[in-house]
């Protein structure tokens, strides 16, 4: 190829020039020594630079790796400390939160108990008022009987009906409260699974990972 020939010719020309230069130097030992000293210095300098560059690169990488690892170690330590800090805060607040939940639960339960008792009293009041109505009716009938407006038969029949109605009311209330009424919520009736169980559709108020303390409110 033509360019290869040009290159070969150039190399040959350089070699010839170098050879003639070396021959020339041999004739002049002082120049030869200077040339050799310069070349030696150049080569040694080049080798040293290569070695130093390589070492600097490796040393720099080593230093950077150390910094990276140190940063990661610090990051890990800070993360651990932060995690412990979170745990400490959680532990410190645990008693307060537990006490709050406990008080809230106690108040709620107390409210439920009071409500049940009040409603029970109201039921008793209903029975007493029914008794009062029955007695008042009997009183009225007795007055009418005394005034000879009604006969003894009517008095006895009507009075008996009033007493029977009262007794039915008493039995009904007592039976309902003792057997069917929910023991916790006055207005709830117990069906004892007679119609199956209704699944809850209400969303949970506690987070997925609800803590053991301050458990999900009722």
């Amino acid at each position: 190829m033509p360019y290869q020939n040009v290159v070969n010719n150039a190399i040959l020309a350089q070699d010839l020039e170098l050879s003639s230069y070396v021959n020339e130097l041999r004739n002049n030992p002082q120049n030869l020594q200077t040339f050799l000293a310069n070349e030696q210095a150049r080569i040694i300098s080049s080798v040293k630079r290569q070695k130093e560059d390589t070492f600097n690169k490796v040393y720099g990488d080593f230093e950077r790796t150390e910094k990276i690892q140190e940063s990661i170690l610090k990051y890990k330590n800070r993360s651990k400390e932060l995690s412990q800090l979170h745990d400490n805060i959680y532990d410190n607040q645990k008693d307060t939160a537990n006490s709050i939940v406990h008080n809230k639960n106690t108040n709620t339960r107390k409210y439920e108990m009071n409500e049940w008792t009040v409603n029970n009293k109201k039921d008793t009041l209903f029975v007493l008022s029914a008794l009062f109505v029955a007695i008042s009716l009997l009183l009225l009938l007795t007055i009418l009987l005394h005034m000879n407006i009604i006969s003894a038969g009517v008095w006895g029949f009507t009075g008996a009906i009033a007493i029977i109605i009262f007794i039915i009311i008493v039995i009904n209330r007592a039976q309902y409260t003792n057997q069917l009424r929910n023991k916790r919520y006055w207005s709830k009736k117990r069906f004892d699974g007679q119609y199956g169980k209704i699944s809850s559709i209400c969303p949970s108020t506690a987070p997925a990972s609800a803590p053991s303390t301050a458990s999900a409110p009722r």
Partner: protein
């Protein structure tokens, strides 16, 4: 670094307590004379076992201890490199001077000098290359250890997210303390008042019933 002059004994002196092994089997080198990756990995592992390279998991939390240990390792490597490098430069000068002398005066003495210097230079070059390869191996190993810590960091982060959720829930409870407790107490108070009111009604109806019953008995007797 300028070339220093060394005696023969100093040129051959090994670096005391360095990380380079005294000798490396030829089977651990490739065709270019460089150490094989397998050997570097096993050698770095042995350095870790000997405690020369600080291991993050054993140092554990103390970053200052880790920092000082790695620093001393770095300084040690640099000193060891400098030790061999200054000798390498000195031998290089000796070799080139010998070559120069050989060029001008072709004698057996000069030939021997060149050959000896060449062998020494070769040995020192191998040591420098070995040291560089081992330092690279240590860097790679340290980076891999850093990667291994990722799992630990992820665990911490997950733990923090969970605790944060729990704290939020806890804080909500504490925040709701004032209003919630007040309402609960008021509700209890209301039921107590309601109970008292119902008690009064019960007493009144009891009294009315007694009066009505007394009246009924009185009228019934009066009628008879």
């Amino acid at each position: 670094m300028s070339a220093q002059s060394f005696t023969e004994a100093e040129l051959n002196a090994l670096f005391p307590n360095g990380i380079l092994p005294e000798s490396i089997d030829i089977s651990n080198r490739n065709s270019s004379g460089l150490l094989t990756d397998t050997y570097i990995i096993s050698f770095v592992a042995s350095l870790k076992t000997r405690g020369i390279i600080p291991v993050l998991t054993t140092i554990n939390e103390n970053e200052n201890v880790y920092h000082s240990k790695v620093d001393s390792l770095l300084t040690g490597c640099k000193s060891e490199y400098d030790h061999y490098y200054t000798r390498y430069v000195a031998i290089l000068n000796i070799l080139f001077t010998a070559i120069r002398d050989q060029y001008t005066v072709n004698s057996t003495d000069n030939q021997t000098k060149v050959a000896n210097s060449n062998v020494k230079l070769l040995n020192l070059n191998i040591k420098l290359n070995d040291l560089i390869q081992i330092m690279q191996g240590i860097s790679n190993d340290m980076l891999q250890t850093s990667n291994a810590m990722e799992a630990e960091l992820t665990a911490f982060q997950e733990s923090m997210v969970k605790t944060k959720q729990k704290l939020k829930y806890q804080t909500d409870i504490i925040k709701s303390n004032q209003n919630g407790t007040k309402i609960s107490r008021e509700m209890v108070k209301y039921t107590e008042e309601n109970a008292r009111y119902t008690d009064n009604l019960l007493k009144m109806y009891s009294f009315l019933n007694v009066v009505a019953l007394g009246l009924l008995i009185y009228i019934y007797r009066a009628a008879n």
